[in-house]
């Protein structure tokens, strides 16, 4: 089963996709955030691995990006998820252990909480830091 | 006691003797190090050492005080003070600071200069006893690039 047939069963918006142009063979914006669990499960069955999880502050919302890739031959799938600033997202830790640190990093920088991840913590920034530095509204203190 | 025990002993004795023989052979090789303050390494012509301003044939600074290097410096190590003399439209350089304590020797200022007026010298011994000594000014920009 190819990735396109997998993705067909989800409610999504197809974004511009071209490996030559932006490095993603497929990019899809999921409309329902709980779909990410089912999708990850299906992709893992197809021997994809989770390359990274990251996010972009789009000013009104946060866009999460899950990048999956295949080990045998490059087939990079970017799955996007638009969420509100204080919205929770289901964690992928049941499928990929690496999601633990990837999600912690996103939480650290964007304040996105991943439900189901027991180790969510400030990974890189110091403990007790306030605010989430990669949000556009965050300003560094002047020294 | 089984075969793997004696096998291990056998491998152990062999590898240990091999290792000892090889290491003693290196004892008589020529050392590759240099005795630094007495001997010095050849420095490549492209080496990016301390910053200096270039001069043209008449000995005047080539700099046109455009400020590109100041703008592009990722570390903020370059500071430029310009004056516009009366009756002239062109800006002139009145003071030029390079803080070698901040400089990351990346070469972007040299790349970006439109008139090729700034360059890296091959001087790498820029240590100073005081932090002030690391700040190069127009009058000592030549000091560290003998």
């Amino acid at each position: 089963m190819s990735v396109i047939t997998i993705l067909d069963s989800f409610d999504k918006e197809v974004l511009e996709q071209s490996y030559e142009k932006n490095g993603f063979n497929h990019s899809y914006l999921l409309r329902k955030k709980d779909d990410i669990i089912e999708l990850t499960k299906r992709l893992k069955e197809e021997e994809y691995f989770l390359e990274t999880i990251t996010a972009v502050d789009k000013k009104e919302k946060i866009r999460l990006i899950y990048i999956f890739n295949k080990m045998q031959k490059v087939h990079r799938v970017a799955v996007y998820l638009d969420i509100d600033y204080s919205e929770d997202v289901p964690s992928l830790i049941d499928f990929f252990k690496s999601a633990d640190w990837f999600e912690s990093e996103v939480y650290d920088f964007f304040g996105v909480k991943f439900t189901g991840n027991p180790n969510l913590k400030r990974l890189l920034t110091p403990e007790g830091m306030e605010g989430y530095p990669l949000l556009k509204s965050w300003k560094a203190e002047e020294d | 006691m089984n075969a793997s025990y004696f096998n291990k002993v056998n491998i152990g004795i062999k590898t240990v003797i091999k290792g000892l023989a090889l290491s003693i052979s290196y004892l008589f090789k020529k050392p590759v190090t240099l005795q630094y303050p007495h001997e010095k390494k050849r420095i490549a012509q492209r080496y990016r050492g301390s910053i200096r301003l270039k001069r043209n044939e008449e000995g005047a600074l080539k700099c046109i005080a455009c400020g590109s290097c100041e703008k592009i410096c990722p570390a903020g190590a370059i500071k430029m003070v310009t004056v516009t003399p009366e009756g002239s439209k062109k800006k002139q350089l009145s003071e030029f600071y390079v803080d070698l304590g901040l400089c990351i020797y990346c070469g972007l200022c040299v790349d970006t200069c439109p008139v090729d007026a700034i360059e890296h010298s091959i001087v790498y011994e820029v240590a100073e006893r005081k932090k002030d000594g690391l700040i190069l000014r127009l009058d000592n920009l030549g000091e560290k690039n003998v």
């Binding site: 511009e16 030559e20 142009k21 932006n22 490095g23 993603f24 893992k44 021997e47 691995f49 989770l50 390359e51 990274t52 990251t54 972009v56 502050d57 990006i65 990048i67 080990m71 045998q72 031959k73 490059v74 990079r76 970017a78 990929f96 252990k97 690496s98 640190w101 990837f102 920088f109 400030r122 990974l123 890189l124 920034t125 110091p126 530095p133 990669l134 560094a140 | 291990k8 491998i11 590898t15 240990v16 091999k18 290792g19 090889l22 290491s23 290196y26 590759v32 420095i43 490549a44 492209r46 080496y47 990016r48 592009i72 990722p74 990351i104 020797y105 990346c106 070469g107 972007l108 890296h120």
Partner: protein
């Protein structure tokens, strides 16, 4: 004295942030029972500099030197990922000669990185001599870098559309000398260190299964040590890697010894690539003309290269201005290190340094 308080319940050892063998400022909190590790927790962030935030206020060109400072032992591979990403966005293809120069420099850098790793790994195990033998070889690479790029470590050599400067005749002379000595030196080093002591120390510890490679998103020699054939130079060929004949060394069991062996064999494969590239390098310009002020078209771009540690992805989001809107590094050592906590329990304290060493981490790259 309050004896209640002094009953020894859990004995914690803080390895790091200042410790000779955590390779920088990594901290591992070990709960030990005698010599045995019961559990461990990796603490990151001691070298966090907020580069991803900093990138938002720097121009694309100003970020170039910063790329050198993540993984300072294989800096040009990091430059390549960033430059490649921008070239993808701008639609620039570097000229032939530039591609060859890039491959030569990148492979030299990979060798340098592996040599440093091997030396440091052996130093962790207590062998000092091979460290300096390999450093002699690495020093020659550094001299070549100095000759061509002007700097020994933070090279800032890759530019959009090519490289900063052409190779010099002196460089080829030095390269020749290096290629002549490296095979012998590698063989000598392997003979010296593969004594029974070393084999006992690294064999059959720190297993990583093939499932865990997928599970923890491991890449690079760590994945290949477990027998997973994943190398971007073959699986996602970028630049001109399809033209070269080289093998991807694979391990079998996935223990520390396999990871060590994979890296040592990779050095020889890199030497092969360099030899082929040097004999095939064409004449021509070393750089395409590139815009002085770089502005990427609006959109997002992702480009990945194989560094000496694994898959490095640069993810750039541009809003059309001169500064990146979002700059993200998917660095290999970050996910490679995440498996450490599951590998350590049950091993001895001495194994901790061997296992950590075999993963090969450079902390500024992880902490960013």
């Amino acid at each position: 004295m309050d004896t209640e308080k002094h009953v020894l319940k859990d004995f914690y050892v803080n390895m790091g942030p200042q410790h000779p063998s955590t390779h920088g400022v990594l901290r591992i909190v070990l709960k030990v029972d005698g010599e045995k590790v019961m559990s461990s927790e990796t603490v990151l962030g001691y070298a966090h500099r907020g580069v991803e935030k900093m990138a938002e206020s720097k121009t694309y060109i100003q970020m170039m030197p910063v790329m050198d400072r993540f993984d300072y032992v294989s800096s040009m591979l990091f430059e390549w990922a960033y430059v490649g990403c921008m070239e993808k966005a701008l639609g620039i293809t570097p000229p032939e000669r530039a591609e060859y120069i890039r491959v030569i420099m990148a492979e030299l850098n990979r060798i340098a990185s592996h040599l440093l790793w091997a030396g440091a790994f052996l130093l962790d195990l207590g062998a000092f001599t091979p460290f300096l033998w390999l450093f002699d070889a690495r020093e020659r690479i550094m001299d070549m870098f100095e000759e061509v790029t002007g700097q020994r470590m933070t090279n800032n050599y890759f530019k959009i559309g090519g490289v900063a400067d052409d190779l010099t005749p002196e460089f080829f002379k030095m390269l020749d000398e290096f290629l002549n000595m490296i095979r012998k030196r590698m063989a000598d080093t392997e003979t010296l260190i593969e004594s029974i002591i070393f084999l006992e120390r690294v064999k059959d510890i720190g297993f990583i299964s093939k499932e865990d490679v997928i599970n923890y998103s491991l890449t690079g020699p760590v994945a290949r040590g477990s027998g997973v054939n994943y190398d971007l130079r073959k699986n996602e060929p970028y630049s001109i890697y399809t033209r070269f004949d080289f093998e991807i060394p694979l391990g079998e069991k996935g223990d520390c010894y396999d990871r060590y062996k994979v890296r040592m064999r990779e050095v020889i494969q890199s030497v092969r690539i360099i030899e082929q590239a040097v004999s095939a390098i064409p004449e021509g310009p070393f750089a395409e003309k590139a815009p002085k002020i770089v502005k990427l078209p609006e959109g997002e771009y992702y480009f990945a290269v194989e560094t000496s540690r694994g898959l490095l992805g640069v993810y750039l989001v541009s809003d059309g201005s001169a500064n990146p809107y979002r700059f993200k590094l998917r660095d290999p050592a970050f996910s490679n290190l995440s498996i450490l906590d599951t590998m350590l329990p049950g091993n001895k304290i001495s194994d901790v340094v061997a296992i950590l060493g075999s993963i090969d981490v450079v902390i500024p790259e992880i902490d960013r």
